[in-house]
Amino acid sequence: GGGLKIGMVTDIGQLEDKSFNEFSWKGVQDGAKAVGGTAQVIVTKDIADYKQNIQQFVDQKYDVIVTVGFLIGTDTLAAAQANPGIQFFGIDQFICVPADANDKECKGKVPDNYQGLVFNEAQAGYLAGIVAGTITKSGKIGAVGGRSDVPPVVNYIKGYENGAKSVKSNVQVLVNYTEDFNAPDKGEASAKTMISQGADVVFQVAGLTGAGVLRAACNAKVWGIGVDVDQYLSLPDLQSCIVTSAEKRLQNAAGEAIKRFKDKGKQSGNYTNDATNAGIGASPIRNLSPVPAGLEDKIKQATEDMKSGKLKPV
């Protein structure tokens, strides 16, 4: 068709990662449909292929190129500067253009055809924390992170801790980073240990490892909290114990970005998806009947305060 040609370059690994790549791609497809364009994806298998994968779309005269993950940011910036005629979106890329070698505050000019889509995971984590803090009976809750050096993961968990403390100041939060997104057995082990320590709610921010976390929660008949998407829906086997999920609406953000470009033209700078634009949130409360008094209000209130900027999750 004559519509926009939209290309997406994934982060290293696979399209069906049940996370960034998968939902960004869904969003790009939604966006394409909405603006009557076509979408294609290149799966990146090695960091060394970023450049050529982006260039491939450039050579094929694509109008919009979406790149996923912070690692590909450097190459995306370069491509954006080299191709002012093409709109670039960088998912989870906080664009920082140093004015000169020793500038750390990103005073440089962001090319006006490149927009970074970043998320306030801390806010989502905070809302999940409120739920955990409210429903815990033991006063002990747990969180399993995939990697301690991946900013989104850490932000989720920081927010989670603060959210829980906001409702139960003396709540104890057990945290473990498996340093591996691909080890369900290790996730299960972490959760099992936390549970045997008395934790009765576990929050997973660990990809496939997290599946093991939630599985352990279900087996032990304690509560589990999902991440990124409403995992009550994406992991039907584990519905019995998922109480909510800390959502980061990737699909939505990617789709909206493309619409913005179609309606308003070139997009630039860093676009933060957070409470103000429903870029993050907490999935509906499940499995709790009755839902503890005031829980939903607390969540609504916190969301409002975050919108107004009154509440800082970290």
Binding site: K45, D46, Q52, S148
Partner: protein
């Protein structure tokens, strides 16, 4: 003419294997096309292969992409191949690759401002030495304690990924980024020679092919390595020192793997970050096996894999055939090489199978016994 025929004797089986692999993969693509939105499409494979070809060789940039992707595979393939010659199976290329890339990144970044002729050579050297050091560990352990190199290298691969991630976070993290990474290598990068990305590393890789070949065929060291690989006992009686050769070969293998990481870092990536994958390490094994652990064979095998790498993007966006089909094709190529019986039957190949004594040695020495002590070795 006779030289041509000789070359064909060696090349025929691989070439036929590739054709056969493409054929079988085509069937897979056609069958699976029925599952997809586009629906049943008998011409899909042709379309896909055409794009692969165009993407890899159809344009100057395609060709240079192929070469750039092949270069680290040449180093990696040589690393594995050299080990095989000495009866060592170095699965540790992945780890040595990462260590080399990391060292080059750190040294390169620290000399980012320095003139290229200072920073670049030092950065490359750092990568080579780091890889060598990381290869020395399993080599030394095997020589000293007999600890099996397959086990130790696998473990060291995983350890490298984790500990380098730690190092980037706690030791050399560059300020001004939202995620852990090292500073850019700047002036220390390998200079681009032609077009967009054909960098000096490609030249180094090709040179390495012929250097390694020369060492193996024409020098006493090469003779010692091959002898130790084929019959360590005889080597001892001939006055060679298998223990020393084992450690040395593993170190050299690590050095080559380190160089693979180094040129990838200084020629393409430009900074080290935890997400960096060492798919090169995995593919290198396939490349070495495909190349029959012979340097020239490795050269062509690496080019083939490089071409797949370079052609894949176009194939994906023009035909939306999943990139995983590349793995399937590569696996099939290796399958038909291994089971060359099939190929011979199908294409009536008379050519004698190019003997790969090293590989047999490796398979036999899997657990550390020498082939000569295996049964059936009688007069």
């Amino acid at each position: 003419m006779t030289r041509l025929r000789a070359a064909w004797r060696v090349a025929s089986i691989p070439v036929y294997s590739i054709l056969l692999a493409l054929l079988v993969a085509a069937v897979v693509i056609i069958v699976s096309s029925t599952f997809t939105a586009t629906g049943f499409d008998p011409l899909l494979p042709l379309a896909a292969y055409l794009r692969l070809l165009i993407g890899a060789f159809g344009s100057p940039s395609g060709i240079s992409n192929t070469l750039v992707a092949a270069a680290p595979l040449m180093f990696g393939g040589l690393a594995v191949g050299l080990g095989l010659k000495a009866g060592l199976f170095n699965i540790g290329v992945a780890g040595q690759f990462l260590v080399g890339a990391f060292a080059s990144a750190v040294v390169g970044a620290s000399l980012a401002g320095a003139p290229m002729l200072v920073g670049m050579p030092l950065a490359v050297l750092a990568g080579a030495l780091a890889g060598a050091a990381y290869g020395f560990i399993p080599g030394f352990l095997k020589a000293r304690t007999g600890a099996h190199e397959v086990v130790t290298t696998i473990m060291l691969n995983n350890a490298a990924t984790l500990l380098l991630t730690w190092a980037v976070n706690d030791l050399v993290r560059a300020p001004g980024f939202t995620f852990p990474r090292t500073a850019a290598v700047g002036e220390s990068a390998l200079p681009v020679l032609i077009g967009r990305n054909l960098h000096l590393g490609v030249v180094l890789a090709v040179v390495a092919i012929f250097v390694v070949r020369w060492v193996l065929d024409r020098t006493t060291l090469g003779f010692e390595i091959r002898t130790v690989g084929l019959n360590p006992e005889a080597a001892r009686y001939a006055g060679m020192r298998p223990v020393f050769i084992t450690a040395l070969t593993m170190t050299l293998s690590g050095l080559l793997a380190g160089l693979a990481g180094s040129i990838q870092m200084l020629g393409v990536i430009g900074f080290y970050a935890p997400g960096i994958t060492a798919s090169v390490g995995f593919d290198s094994i396939a490349v070495a096996l495909l190349g029959r652990s012979d340097p020239i064979g490795i050269l062509f095998a690496a080019l083939l894999f490089g071409a797949f790498r370079a052609g894949a993007p176009l194939m994906q966006i023009e035909t939306s055939v999943p990139i995983e089909v590349i793995d399937i094709i590569q696996a099939l190529v290796i399958l038909f090489l291994a089971a060359d019986l099939i190929v011979r039957r199908l294409f009536r190949v008379r050519a004698a199978k190019p003997e790969i004594a090293e590989l047999q040695t490796v398979t036999k020495t899997w657990g550390g016994t020498t082939p000569s002590t295996t049964p059936g070795g009688g007069d």
